[in-house]
Symmetry: C2
Subunit: 276 residues, 2 copies
């Protein structure tokens, strides 16, 4: 028997109520959001121990299987970014949107929706008001806009916290359209952006969990820049391979079937049976 | 916003510890169990309110996605069986095995493994000793053997509870091998077995949640004999379609790929987007 940690989930208020009453298709139209997979709420500490709040964008295929946000490639790069701040456990992440954005421009079209913001602000209130958070990191433009909208609320105005808007962790993939040169350029630009943000965040994050790694990112992402999702962030019993690299994919012959399908594949290295 | 219930999970002891320390491949060999998908622990009440304990066999593909046992066809038929006892909420389910059995005879080969039983007995102790459970229902032969092994332990000997071993809810599918006549016969035999068990269980279950349905099963399974999995049994945010009928499948061109792959498909009725 090995000992495992897991995320106890939405036990205490106000998180329990936030996971009982949440906006659905009346607020998130099914043509712009994959409401059919259900909302995915958070990842990380809900016990007040978070020093850094990460605001992401929307959950994708890995996230609707594990039911925690920022678990796939974007999450593992974010985890590496936090590690460079010495933050290994004291963080909590919420997204701009509860549901996966579908299609081009779906996120933009709903960036300022009042009902979406009202619910999201209840999460930000719960995580930031009267809390010990020292910095907020927004991943991408929509997340930055969401956080700044909260800062303009009465509750937000009362909270003093460092804030950095950084390039979305998988923006290089989106920008490159499969072109390796454009991808390399976009990664280098992202890592410069991240290094600049880290330099400003280090003095703000005064209570890191461990000593910070002072080495900046290079020109390209290395294996070490992907940190596995900590076991304690996921629900009980999830296998280890769900915490690193890619293992879920949307597939289908038609757009309709692709939207309706997620294929989960155990990575080769985790196939421990005889005939593998 | 609609209000939703969800299962808070493994918050209280001893369940928290049982989900932190559990047997893995050293106890469940990877050639006989799909350890690669992780353990799936339970479904239902862990707060002492259960009047009926169901012992199932092993989790399959729907269960490793939802991370709760007896969610697919077998679970929905079991839910219908409990409804005939007037039990809609006051139940809890555990399995004989933490991991999905792989291949023919894997379950038989490990039916009496001491380490598997030791961990399972800790769950049965937690659910039955000093509890208000009035009846235990074992689904299939292996589950009955597991429960009877627990009854022979010192803790089990001290617990007085009605016990019924019923035909496994998807035994007709296994027995029929695709032959519709054999399937119909096997279903009819199962439902006779279930009617007999219900007749004996009704007087034992003295505290049903609602009035019992006195109508026995017919010769064939009807739609009404499948009860959806209650929302409150699954983790927060899972979509409604994960609680009824079939939506997960093992697929792959080779046995290796099939073992490594689960395809999750949103059922047609739940595809609410425009081009569906």
């Amino acid at each position: 028997m090995a000992s495992h940690q897991f995320d106890p989930g939405y036990v205490e208020e106000p998180f329990r109520s936030l996971c009982e009453d949440y906006p659905a298709a009346e607020t998130y139209p099914a043509d712009d959001f994959r409401v059919e997979w259900g909302p995915v709420f958070h990842r990380g500490r809900l016990d007040g121990s978070a020093r850094v709040v990460v605001v992401g964008q929307d959950p994708a295929q890995h996230e609707v299987i594990t039911r925690r946000i920022l678990v796939g490639a974007a999450g593992q790069r974010t985890q590496g970014f936090l590690a460079r701040l010495g933050i290994q456990a004291s963080y909590v992440m919420v997204n701009t949107f509860l549901y996966s954005v579908y299609g081009q421009g779906g996120g933009e079209r709903h960036a300022d929706d009042a009902q979406i913001a009202a619910y999201r602000n209840r999460w930000l209130d719960a995580l930031l008001v009267g809390a010990e958070v020292e910095a907020v990191v927004a991943l991408g433009r929509l997340a930055a806009r969401a956080f700044q909208a909260w800062q303009a609320t009465p509750a937000g105005q009362g909270v003093e916290v460092a804030f950095e808007h950084i390039t979305y962790p998988t923006a290089p993939e989106s920008a490159a359209g499969g072109d390796p040169d454009r991808y390399a350029e976009a990664v280098a630009a992202m890592l410069r952006n991240w290094n600049d943000a880290l330099a400003r965040l280090r003095p703000a994050v005064r209570h890191p969990d461990v000593d910070r790694d002072p080495v900046p990112y290079g020109e390209a992402l290395t294996d070490a820049d992907y940190a596995p999702i900590p076991e304690r962030d996921l629900p009980a019993g999830l296998p280890e391979w769900m915490r690193s690299r890619a293992w879920a994919d949307r597939r289908g012959r038609t757009p309709d079937l692709k939207r309706a399908t997620i294929v989960v594949t155990v990575p080769r290295a985790a196939r421990r049976w005889t005939d593998a």
